[in-house]
Symmetry: C2
Subunit: 326 residues, 2 copies
């Protein structure tokens, strides 16, 4: 029901995914009048009267909308009727309700939001946390490193994904006290082969692809993600403005179209859509609110991938191994 476009995007994306995956079964949770358009033997409608609005405060979503589509979808995961939940809705509400309904894994104090940012190697760097936790300790950062490693091992089939600690310089002496303690803890975890720790990385390393995973507190992660989204949007706006300035530039745009399209495909963030909420006793994926059909399909695909690769079991296993350091 959620996202900027609601069922007009999510329903066609669901139908496309059902076509592509012969084993896929979908439970569509929401108002039957809005989701009625879907008629597929492997799609089942689960009616929910209430909907969490994109701007609902977390308290409203938690206390006053106990039969919301979001809540019911997460309960289906808890009951084992669904292997994963996907939402394009209100991120804060999704995280809070997921934490309340599903609970965190033993040893994990706070779930994290992990998102892949495209890098220049053609791959993507998994960055976490992206906004769930504004005040982090070094132990939270270690938990993020373990969660992110399990995610990359399961979904990207990486053997030993490398973890970078986001800092303001590559030297070990840089950063505030918490970051220095986190670096020590990550080094210890590396020595015990619980993660593969690379060392400090800087903001630009995210887009260089220096490491597979970058860990940071949710405040820094969220500001960084939004700043880069802002820059990307500015670059795209200015390119469009310059190419549509007059008849000559529009002709140039025509000539350059195949190249510009190839460029767009390579930097298309829709291909990476779908943030993982990690550290919960169930699989939950968050699509960007502004996702179009293609982007929402990618978020659904990730959830399918995660269920098929038994991400939850793999995370539980890694967390158990590392728990003595948490």
């Amino acid at each position: 029901m959620g996202g900027d476009h609601g069922p007009s995007v999510t329903v066609p994306a669901c139908l496309a995914l059902l076509e592509r995956h012969a084993q896929l079964r979908l439970l569509l949770v929401g108002r039957s009048d809005a989701l009625g358009a879907i008629a597929h033997p492997r799609a089942e409608l689960v009616h929910a009267e209430e909907v969490v609005a994109m701007d609902d405060p977390v308290e409203v979503a938690m206390r006053h909308k106990k039969r919301s589509s979001m809540r019911i979808a997460l309960e289906l995961v808890k009951e084992g009727r669904a292997q994963a939940a996907v939402s394009a809705g209100n991120t804060g509400a999704l995280m809070a309700i997921a934490r309340y309904v599903l609970k965190t894994l033993d040893g994990i104090e706070r779930p994290a939001i992990a998102y892949p940012l495209p890098n220049v190697t053609g791959g993507a760097t998994t960055v976490l946390d992206l906004g769930a936790n504004v005040d982090c300790t070094e132990h939270h950062l270690l938990q993020f490193a373990v969660l992110g490693s399990a995610l990359d091992m399961a979904l990207k089939s990486r053997d030993k994904p490398s973890v970078g600690l986001l800092n303001i310089g590559s030297e070990a002496i840089k950063g505030n006290d918490m970051i220095k303690r986190a670096a020590e803890l990550l080094r210890e975890a590396d020595q015990k082969s619980l993660i593969h720790y690379y060392g400090n990385v800087e903001g630009n390393d995210i887009f260089k692809g220096t490491t597979d995973i970058v860990v940071c507190d949710g405040f820094v992660g969220n500001v960084t993600l939004k700043a880069t989204e802002g820059l990307a949007s500015m670059v795209s706006t200015i390119l469009k403005q310059e190419f549509s300035r007059n008849a000559f530039t529009r002709l140039a745009a025509l000539c350059a179209m195949p190249v510009l399209n190839a460029f767009k495909r390579r930097v298309d963030h829709r291909r990476h859509n779908g943030a993982a909420l990690l550290g919960l006793r169930g699989l939950v994926f968050k699509s960007h609110g502004s996702a179009d059909q293609l982007a929402f399909e990618h978020a659904l695909s990730k959830a399918i991938d995660a269920a098929e690769h038994q991400l939850l079991q793999k995370i539980q296993h890694r967390v158990q191994q590392a728990a003595t350091l948490f």
Copy 2:
């Protein structure tokens, strides 16, 4: 002497500026063999035997290079022989030596690094702090707001530059405890007409140009700056790769060249080169280490502008007014 290219960039930039500004006098501080190329009636060579290397730890620069070109240039400012100092060298060393030689203004605990990031309106958003201070209190953020406002008023002739507080959401309830206290303090300063406080802004607002100034702690600021530099560099690399893929794409590049050049001019960060070290008893500007001649000219121009517009006196005035809240 500093920067990635040293005098091969800084000397020609100095000569170009001397041509353009008939009143300008330059003191070139460094090794006479390296700076000997400059011969101009309004340029004076000040010999310095030692040079702070780009990778010298701050301690080495401070304690073991007491006659470095950086140190002597800052002493010329302190003695009133120079109205401003410009360096393309080691940022950490420049900040530490500037603080030691010049001292901070009464009421300012920590100097800040302010840098303008281009935004989609065609202007630039002044962001501070960008890395001088990794652990900030709400009082530091207020000081940054006052320093940044004085800078924009002097250099951009803005009457009431607006200040945004970098946060993870626009609602007042967002952020960690320090950020919430900072928001209160900034609101109080606004009520006393000491600054013009807009409220919370998010990472993307920097590039939207929502406010004239964005304040944040140096850790968040530095990570954000480097992440956006990393993204910009990735976009530029991929554009180049796509346009040079084969004969057809190279032809397309030829057609699109005037438009791509116009685009490049608009996003050209060299036009904004020159970070201000604010809160000191003297004017100090830091050029990006990788600056080419054009970029270094811009950093020099800013220093000239700041001296002509009496930035230091204006900052002192604003800081005195606001000191009761610090």
